[in-house]
Amino acid sequence: MGIKDIAIKNLLRRKGKAAFILAGLIIGVATVVAVISFADTMTRDINHKLEKYGANILIVPRTDNLSLTYGGMTLGGVSFDMEPIRHSQLSAIQTIKNAANIAAVGPITLGTIKVKDRTALLAGVDFNVTGILKPWWKIQGNPPTGNEVLVGAEAANLLGIKSGQPLTINERNFKVSGMLAPTGSQDDQLIFTSLATAQSVLNKPDQVSLVEVAALCKDCPVDAMVVQIGEKLPNAKVMAIQQVVKGRMETLAQFRKFSYGISVVVVFIGGLVVLVTLMGSVKERTEEIGIFRAIGFRQRHIMRIIFIESGLISILAGVMGYVLGTGAIWAGLKIIGNHGDAAMPFDPALAAGAIAMAVSVGLLASAYPALMAARMDPNQALKTI
C-alpha cells in the first residue's frame, strides 16, 4: 500500500464529494470545449461556404474613367475603348508564389449582341471552371458547346427563349442548350456561351473583359495573392472580394471573445467548487490527517494524497468534459439544423487541452486545501475529535 492507494480508497469512500468535484470541473471543461468546438465548427462552416462562394478575386482592365458594376459589386474601371486583358496573359497567374492556392481562373468576355431585335449581353465563359466559380448555378439542360448558348432565367423570360430552340445572334445561328435557373444575380439577364465562341461572335479575339479567380480557402493569403497577380498583370486591376468574409469573421471573432470570457468565469466557478469541496473534505478528515501526521507522514505526503485525489478526478473530468462539450455542440447543431453538415472530427489537441485544463484547474484549486491539510497540527487534530 502506498500514498496513491490511500488517495484512491478515500475517493471511493467519499463518492458524493468526488462526484461533486467532478461535476464542477466537467461543467467548466465542457463549457470551454463547447465554446471552442462551436467557434471552430462555425469557422470551418464559414470557410466551407466561402469556398462555395466561388470567385473571390476579380481582375478587370485598369482604367481611369468609366465604371462597371457586376453582380452588385463594383468591378473597377472598364471601358470598351481601353486596352483589354489578353487571354494569353492569364497563364502568368499560375506562376505566382501562391499559385497552389488558386482553385480556378475563369476569364469572361462580355459584349452586346442583337437577339430577336433586342440588345442583350453575351458572356463567354469557360464552362470547365463554372462548377468552381459559380457553384450555385443550376443548368436546366446542358452546358453549351460550339454554337450553343445557355440563357439566364430573366433573359429567357424577356426574350421568349426556350430550351432547345434555335437562336440567331449577330446573324449567326445558335441552339439553346439549356436554361440557367434563377440565381438572383445579374447572371439571370445574360446569355452565356463558350469563351471562344463569344470572342468570335463579339469580334474580340484573345480579349477578356474580366477574370474571376477562386482562391479563398481556409488561411489563404488572399491579399498577398492580389498583389502577386497585380504584379503579373500590370495593365489590370486586381481586387479581393472580402467584405462578406470579413464581416462574418469579425462577428465570429467577437463571439469567440465573448465566449472565452464566459468560459473563464465558468472555469473559475468550477475551480471554486473544487476548492470549497476539498476544504470541506480536509476538515472532515481532520482525524485521519492527524493520524497520518502522528505516525510520521511528512507534510508533502499529505499534500500528495490531496493532489493525487484531485488529479485523478481532474483527468476524468477532462475526458468527460471533452466528450460532453463536443457532444453538446454536435447535438445542438443537429437540432438547430443550420449547420447539420458541419463536420466535428475528433480533435486530439482540444482533447489534450481539455484534460490539461481540468488538471491545471483541479490542482490549482486543491493547492490551498492541500497546504491546509499538510500544515495541520497533529496534536490539535487528534484533540479536536
Binding site: I3, N10, I295, G296, Q299, R300
Partner: protein, 237 residues
C-alpha cells in the same frame, strides 16, 4: 546516559490572565527498555506530557532529548521523521482509518517508508500475528470489536519496530478481558526491549509498569517503582 530526557519542560496555553500551565517545569529521565506509567487526575497534564513526548506539542520551555536528539530543535519535517523512526502511538479511541482494512491500517506507518510492497505486507502480517489478528486482516475497522481495534492500533504502533511506544489510555474504552489482553501485549512488547510510556487512570493497568509517575497540576508529584515498593514492604515486615 538516559535514553529519554525531559528537562524542565513547561507548557503554557493562552496568555495573560487566561494563561494556563499544563506542564510546570517537569524533569524526568527514562532508560531504554523501561515500562513507565503516568497517572494523575483529569487535567493534571499527563496527556500533554505524552504529546510533548510524541513530538507533537512544542513545549514553551525546556528540552526533550531522545537518544541524544534534541527533538524540538528539529525542523517540522524532521520531527515527522522522528515520529516515524522512533515512536509508536496507541490512542484510547484507536484512531484507525475507517476506509482502510485492518492490515492496511497496520501498514500505514510503512507507507511513507522506502520499502517494497512485499516487505510492507510481510512486516504488517508479522505485527498482526503478534497481536493475534492475522485472520481478520482483510476486515474493515467497523467489522471488528473494540478490543480488536485496540490490538490493531498496537500492531500499527509496532509495525516499524520503534524503540519507544507511547500509549494514551489504551484500555480506556475496553472491558476487563480486553484490558487484560492489551496490557499483556504491552508487557510482552516491553519484555522484548521496547520502551513503553503509558498514560492511564487505572491503578491495575499501572501495575503492569515497573515505574509509575504521578502528575498533578502539571508537576511531577510522586515517582515509585516496583522494586522500591517491594523493598519498602520487606523492610516494614
Amino acid at each position: 546516559m538516559s535514553f529519554i530526557i525531559i528537562d524542565h519542560i513547561t507548557k503554557r496555553y493562552g496568555s495573560g490572565n487566561s494563561e494556563v500551565k499544563a506542564l510546570d517545569g517537569i524533569s524526568l529521565t527514562i532508560q531504554s527498555g523501561e515500562f513507565v506509567s503516568i497517572m494523575g487526575e483529569s487535567g493534571a497534564g499527563k496527556s500533554t506530557l505524552l504529546s510533548v513526548m510524541g513530538a507533537m506539542n512544542t513545549p514553551s520551555e525546556g528540552r526533550y532529548i531522545v537518544d541524544d536528539i534534541d527533538v524540538y530543535g528539529l525542523r517540522n519535517e524532521q520531527q515527522a521523521d522522528f515520529r516515524r523512526e522512533y515512536l509508536g502511538f496507541v490512542f484510547q479511541s484507536f484512531h484507525l482509518v475507517p476506509y482502510l482494512t485492518v492490515v492496511e491500517n497496520v501498514m500505514l506507518p510503512l507507507t511513507a517508508m522506502k520499502l517494497s510492497g512485499r516487505q510492507k505486507e510481510e512486516m504488517a502480517m508479522e505485527a498482526m500475528q503478534w497481536v493475534g489478528l492475522e485472520s481478520k486482516a482483510k476486515r474493515l475497522p467497523s467489522q471488528i470489536s473494540g478490543g480488536e481495534c485496540e490490538r490493531v492500533a498496537v500492531a500499527r504502533a509496532i509495525v516499524n519496530n520503534p524503540p519507544i511506544l507511547l500509549a494514551d489510555e489504551p484500555t480506556g474504552n475496553l472491558d476487563s478481558r480486553n484490558t487484560q489482553e492489551v496490557m499483556s501485549l504491552l508487557s510482552r512488547l516491553n519484555a522484548s526491549g521496547t520502551t513503553v510510556v503509558m498514560v492511564t487512570h487505572s491503578a491495575a493497568c499501572a501495575a503492569f509498569a515497573r515505574r509509575t509517575i504521578q502528575v498533578a497540576d502539571g508537576r511531577l508529584e510522586i515517582e515509585s517503582n516496583k522494586q522500591s515498593t517491594a523493598t519498602a514492604a520487606i523492610k516494614a515486615a
